[in-house]
Every structure is written in structure tokens, then in C-alpha cells.
Subunit: 280 residues, 2 copies
């Protein structure tokens, strides 16, 4: 079912490319146009069937019905002013950035029909070469409307994500950023720091535990520098709560308190079981 005539995707990486592929496979758009700073990316996106055509310039947004901003966080903010002056008054603009408060505050002010979205479908395997229209199936998509969001637009975008197979959660941008600081940004900060702490010569003497615990430290450095900086305060809060937990474990270890240590680990077991149960 066609939901939009012309869709423009700016940023044809893993998420942008996979979205294009899903739109085209499900015939959700009359045409899908891709734009990227890297010509290689859009050419590959076209080759992989993720877009119908490569946009010649940012001017292609002029007659778009939906513009999807799928670039790193800072670029989403930079793009806002450029596209705000060019789009039709009824054009819907969404982004798929991993932090929301800064983006939503800036873009809502410039673009009346803007709606922040965050599909939790990213991967450390970035880039168009890893595209898959199925990455949204069963994934969580957090949508962050404001008090001024048009309910019709919210419903239309909810329907879009449902068609892509995502489970929708509605949160304020601020709440989103606080929650994700714990459930996504903190694990990334720890994975980056953990791999940094392993002496090079010991890397070979490890097993799947280290491999899995550090998987997301392969996530793109530039993308993640921007996510970290865009959600600094919440991440620092999450880090300090993590620190109290690590200190508790360390104290139990230092004081050889086997009972205390056993309790900490047993509680962790229980919470991880809950996480697994929820993700089934």
C-alpha cells in the first residue's frame, strides 16, 4: 500500500538503506530517492535496490512527501535549516537518530511536521553493505512527539513503523535520552573502555565472553562520538550509577566477602533473566 508519493532518504547507511529497501519491497512509496555525502554509498544503495534514484542535490526534497534524516546526529541538526526552507508545507520529516532531545528541540522549531523516531535496529556492522529490510521486524521503535505534534502525522508515522514490523513506544525526547543513556549509551561506553583495557598481547587468549561483551565496541567511532556528546549529562549520570555497582562488587572482592559477592551476582543473574524474558 502506497503511503507516500516521493520519499527522500538523506544518509544511506545501514538504517537509511534498510528503510529504503523496506519501502520499495512493500511498495510504500511512489519513489525513493537517496542522498549521501559519499557518492559510493548512494551508488551502492541504488545497486542493492534500496533506492529508485540518486538525488542530484538537496533540492530534491522540494516536492517530497516524506524526508527521512538517517545521518549521524550532528549532521541531522545541520541539515534541518537547509531542508526547512525547501520542503513543501505538508511534507513530513522524521529522523532516526540515537539521541533525541537536541534533535527534537531544534527540528520541531524549524519544521512544523517533524517527528523524532529511534528504531533500535542499529548494529556495529554499519553501512549500506549490511542493509536488510528485516532489521525493523520485531525491533523497538521509540517515537518522541511533542505537545505540538499533529496527531494525524503521529498516526501516519506509527502506521509506517508498524508496517515495517517494529513495536512502537511513545516517549518524550527527554525521557528517551535518559532511558537510552542506561540501556544503550552506557553499554557502549563500557564496551569501548573494556576493549581498551585489554593488553594487546592477551587478545588471543580469550573466548566468546570477551568477544560478546565488546561486540558493540566495533560501532562507528564518529557516529558514537556524536551520540555520546549529544547525551552527555544523562550518560554521566548512568556512568556514576554503574560506578556504584562496580564499587560494590570491588569492595566485596577486596574484603573477601563471599556471601556479599554471591548476593550481587545472584541479583545480576535474576535481572539478566528478566531482560531475556522481555526480549523474547
Amino acid at each position: 500500500m502506497k503511503m507516500f508519493n516521493k520519499v527522500v532518504i538523506i544518509g544511506t547507511g545501514l538504517i537509511g538503506g534498510s528503510l529504503g529497501l523496506a519501502f520499495r519491497k512493500q511498495h510504500l512509496a511512489g519513489c525513493v530517492i537517496g542522498l549521501s555525502r559519499q557518492q559510493k554509498n548512494v551508488r551502492l544503495a541504488k545497486k542493492f535496490g534500496a533506492i529508485d534514484n540518486v538525488g542530484a542535490s538537496i533540492e530534491v526534497v522540494a516536492d517530497a512527501d516524506l524526508v527521512i534524516l538517517a545521518t549521524p546526529v550532528d549532521t541531522i541538526i545541520d541539515l534541518a535549516e537547509k531542508i526547512a526552507k525547501k520542503i513543501k508545507p505538508d511534507c513530513i520529516v522524521i529522523d532516526v537518530g540515537s539521541s533525541k532531545a537536541r534533535i527534537v528541540s531544534k527540528l520541531s522549531a524549524l519544521i512544523p511536521n517533524f517527528l523524532g523516531c529511534h528504531p533500535l535496529a542499529g548494529s556495529e556492522k554499519k553501512g549500506i553493505v549490511n542493509l536488510k529490510d528485516s532489521i525493523f521486524k520485531g525491533a523497538l521503535c521509540i517515537i518522541t512527539p511533542t505537545a505540538r505534534t499533529n496527531p494525524q502525522i503521529l498516526n501516519k508515522i506509527k502506521l509506517l513503523w508498524k508496517k515495517l514490523g517494529a513495536n512502537i513506544v511513545i516517549l518524550s525526547a527527554e525521557k528517551h535520552d535518559f532511558v537510552l543513556a542506561f540501556t544503550s549509551h552506557l553499554p557502549h561506553a563500557l564496551a569501548f573502555s573494556l576493549i581498551s583495557a585489554i593488553p594487546h598481547q592477551y587478545l588471543a587468549l580469550s573466548s566468546s565472553g570477551l568477544r560478546d561483551t565488546t561486540r558493540i565496541s566495533s560501532s562507528d567511532a564518529r557516529l558514537w562520538s556524536e551520540i555520546f556528546l549529544s547525551n552527555r549529562r544523562n550518560i554521566l549520570t548512568a556512568l556514576s550509577i554503574f560506578q556504584t555497582k562496580l564499587t560494590a562488587l570491588k569492595f566485596a572482592l577486596e574484603s573477601k566477602n563471599k556471601i556479599r559477592l554471591g548476593k550481587i551476582l545472584a541479583l545480576a543473574n535474576k535481572k539478566r533473566a528478566k531482560l531475556l524474558e522481555l526480549s523474547r
Copy 2:
């Protein structure tokens, strides 16, 4: 090819059970006897074909050619005195514990033909119900001889692990414990602390990043309390090195130093790529 007449496995959990299954499938032993404090475990081990028979008591070690200690770390140490008095003079004893210095020092003193082993084939999915003879294929097995280890016994046990498909590394028990503090015990300590730091009500708002980063926080609480305490000092060292890395990331974030942050993450990317390359 039969390498041993009678093999006794004490502790028929994931590793002990999988070893038994591998021994039986490859006809490496005349018979495999299982012993466990939990009768349910040995009964299941027999049912799953991991052992030929359930041992009636510790006395079954009397005519064994090989005894494998596959219990938690503290129990391995407790068992040493009991079996030292009962075994034949030429009986070989190995353990499969995750920390080595304490075990090797205690057991070598009591049992002349003792050899410490650590197959890096464990899993957060513990217990006999998860047994698989293939868990040793391609896994690393660290063997920790002492200056007094009989070279013939070392060669025989190396051959055994090779037959099971493991890649062998020889380290001193002390070196093993220092290395594993980084590559295994540190990731476990962080995974347990990370899941502890996530507020319960946010668990549902997460994706594969949190799931993978915390996988090993499902590891058995009792087993891991003992591993942590048996390698306290090295783990505290590893934790303090991790702490300096986390602090560096935190400072870059606090001071909004995008260049510094980008460099930290890019170096982490590079080291993780190396880890993946080494584990291929």
C-alpha cells in the same frame, strides 16, 4: 583410540558432562564414571550418554587411570586431599577450573601426576542439560605445568586435548591467572555490574547491544564468586586499568572534547577488529 582404561569425572556439569560425551564418542576410555554431589546431575549425565556409569562414592577413583576435577574452584581444592590418598601412584589427575594458581599450588603438592588445565569452553548456559561434545572444537585450552611436571604426562594430556579439537597454549599458572583476569574475569565483573546498573523499568527499552554486553552476567553466581575470590588480586589490577580507560572516556565527555573522544573510540574499534581477526 583408547588412551585410558578407567576415567572418573567428578562434577558432571557443562564441562564435565561434555568431556564425558567426547571421551565416549571418540572411544578414548575403557569406561567413564561420573560423580556429582547432585544425584540428578549424574543421572542426567548417564541418560545423555556422557558417562557409562554413576560412581557409588569417591572410592571409585581407586583404580582410575585419569581423574578429571570439573567442579567449582573451591571444591576442586577440597577434593584434592580426599582423592590424593585413594588414587594409584600412576593415576593422572587434571582439573578444568577457571583460575589456576591456587589449584596448581595445592594439588601439585598432594598429587605428583597432577596437571592444571583450563579449556575456554564454558558458557553462561551451565549444567549437564547444555552438554555438547563439540564445545572443545576450536576452543583454547590453557595447560599450566610446573617445573616438576612429568613431560610424558604433559604430552599425554596435550594429545588428549588435541583429540578433543582444542588449541593448546602452555602458560605458568600465575601467568594464566594474570591474563585471564583481563580477558575473562574483568568482562564478567563488568557484565554483572552493568546489568545491576540498569533500572528494572528500563529493561524493556533495550536492544541487542545490552543483551550481548550482559550475556555473561547470566553465568552461575556461585561458580563465579569462587573464581573472582580465587583470583582477587589480579582482578583488582585489571579493574584499576579498566578504570583509567573509563575515566579517560568520561573526561573527554565532560570536557566535550570531540577529537579526544573520537580517538579513544577509533583505537577501540581497531583493537576489537584485531580481537575478531584473532578469533577467526
